[in-house]
Structure formats: structure tokens, C-alpha cells
Symmetry: C2
């Protein structure tokens, strides 16, 4: 974010080479910040109140439900979510306490841990999914036309690729 006030009272000298954002870029960036803040707030609230799940927990359920044997290595889960390993450890620990997943040591690699979706966890996902999808549509997908959504997806994929080297 470029606080334009800061750009003033800056000497014409050459000590600073800051490429501040243009006004157009600034508008886009701030719209992004506000949009993501409101969106994650809306999604989190819907899931929490209607399903008793955090967004992070929901995402874990989804990944597991789609994987072979409904089981994933902790590290694969973490990479797939773009969450830190520590974060996934904490999230999964909470979910295990509630019976949504079960952890078992990995036979192939003594260091690894397999995270398995229980039937209760799958049922919880089935119950939560319709309301969550409805919220995603209401707040994002149905708000944009096809082109906007496509470009948004391409742009964020490029961002993810640029960061996740």
C-alpha cells in the first residue's frame, strides 16, 4: 500500500528508488484487501455458525474426502492447502479431538503421519457443504460474470506460482 503522504516531502535526490504504486494500481490493491477481508469474514462466519467448523477445518475435510482411501500424509495436506505444517498439525489435532479425523503413523516412512477422514468427519462435510457452497456463490461466484471469475482465477494462480517457488 502506498501512503501518498509519504511520497511527498521526499527529496529529488537519488537515494530512494521506490517504485510506488500508481493510483490505478493502488485502487486495485485496496479493493483486493477489502474484498478478501470481507469475503473470508463472511465465509468463516457462515461455516462457524451453521456447521461449527473453521474454514481451515473445512478445507482439510475436503482434501481428505477427495484423496485415495480418504487419507493423506500431513506434509501433503499442508502443501496442498498452502498452510504451514505447524498450522495443519494444530488444526488436525483439534479435529481429531472432535472425532473428525484419525492419525496413524505411516508404515512406509517412520517419520510420516497419515491423516484419515472418519465416517463422522465425512458426514460432517456432507452436512456443511451445501451451506458453504451457497455462501461462496452468494459472495463471489454469482457476483461476477464468467470472464471476471476466469481472470480472477488466472490472476490468483499466477500470484500463487510467483510466490510458491
Amino acid at each position: 500500500m502506498t501512503p501518498h503522504v509519504v511520497t511527498e516531502d521526499r527529496e529529488a535526490a537519488d537515494v530512494e528508488h521506490v517504485r510506488w504504486l500508481t493510483p490505478d494500481q493502488q485502487r486495485c490493491w485496496r479493493a483486493y484487501l477489502e474484498g478478501t477481508a470481507r469475503l473470508s469474514e463472511a465465509l468463516g462466519r457462515q461455516l462457524e455458525t451453521e456447521a461449527g467448523l473453521s474454514l481451515a477445518e473445512y478445507e482439510v475435510l475436503v482434501r481428505l474426502s477427495e484423496s485415495d482411501g480418504r487419507t493423506m500424509r500431513m506434509s501433503v495436506l499442508a502443501d496442498s492447502l498452502a498452510h504451514s505444517r505447524s498450522r495443519v498439525t494444530h488444526t488436525v489435532a483439534r479435529m481429531e479431538k472432535h472425532g473428525l479425523v484419525a492419525r496413524q503413523t505411516c508404515s512406509a516412512d517412520g517419520r510420516g503421519v497419515n491423516c484419515h477422514l472418519t465416517d463422522a468427519g465425512f458426514a460432517r462435510l456432507e452436512a456443511a457443504a451445501p451451506g458453504h457452497v451457497a455462501q461462496v456463490r452468494e459472495s463471489l461466484v454469482d457476483v461476477l460474470d464468467d470472464d471476471q471469475l476466469r481472470v480472477l482465477g488466472e490472476a490468483m494462480a499466477a500470484v500463487a506460482a510467483a510466490i510458491g517457488r
Copy 2:
């Protein structure tokens, strides 16, 4: 997010009217989730390590630096950031402890509180801004072409408007 496994073993009956996401929509939505996760992580880490500020604190500094008298009402600050009032109270309390802002009761409205940017806070912003802008460019602005960035901004503005009723 639509766990496609859930869509199976669903009866052809009419009890459920869930409009699941299409595969294209699903790809966009997941790209969005991954992109925002990686981006906020990258921005937060840069600010924390190079300036000792959280992104929320930085945003507060920016808003205050642009406001008349470098002062804003707490509620205006909260609305402007799309953050909850409680969150802003906590953030500002931490910042006040570090001398970046000062709070004073509002003369016009006995309930209100004015948050003022101190000189130390302004100096901190000046020091932090170049590195932050560089990160925003490297991770987002310079990764996208002008059209992508423009559409991204428009889309997120539409999302914010759809949610913030």
C-alpha cells in the same frame, strides 16, 4: 468448495437443490484460496521481519497518515479497514503501547475515541513502506498485466459491495 465425492451417492430425488460449482468455477475458487493464502503469508512475513509490524498495524498507520490531522475515530478506522471494532481496539491498544498512536476521547461525541498517529508512528510507516510496496509488486502487481490487475480490482470491489450491506 465442492467436494465432488459428496455429489455422488446423492439420490435423484428433489430434496436437495444445491447448485454445486462447475469444474471451471471450482478451479477459480481454489486458485483464489491458494493465492490469497500465499500472498497474505508473504506480505505478513516481509512486514514482520523487516519492519516489526503486522499487516493490520501497517494498514492502520496508512489510514491515519492519510486522514485530516492524522486522526480518525475508532469506528471510522474500523469501517475503512473492514475490520471488526474489537479487532481494531486490540490492534490500536498494542500500537499505543509501542508509541505508534495515541488515543484521546472525542470532544464532539462523548462515546467516541480519536486515534492519532504520533511522529514515531509516522516515521515507522516511512521506514516500512518501501519494503512493503516492493513485496506487493513482486508478489502481485508486477506478476499481472494491466488488464488482469484491473479486472481483479473490479471483481474484488464487486465482492466487497455484495457483502458489505
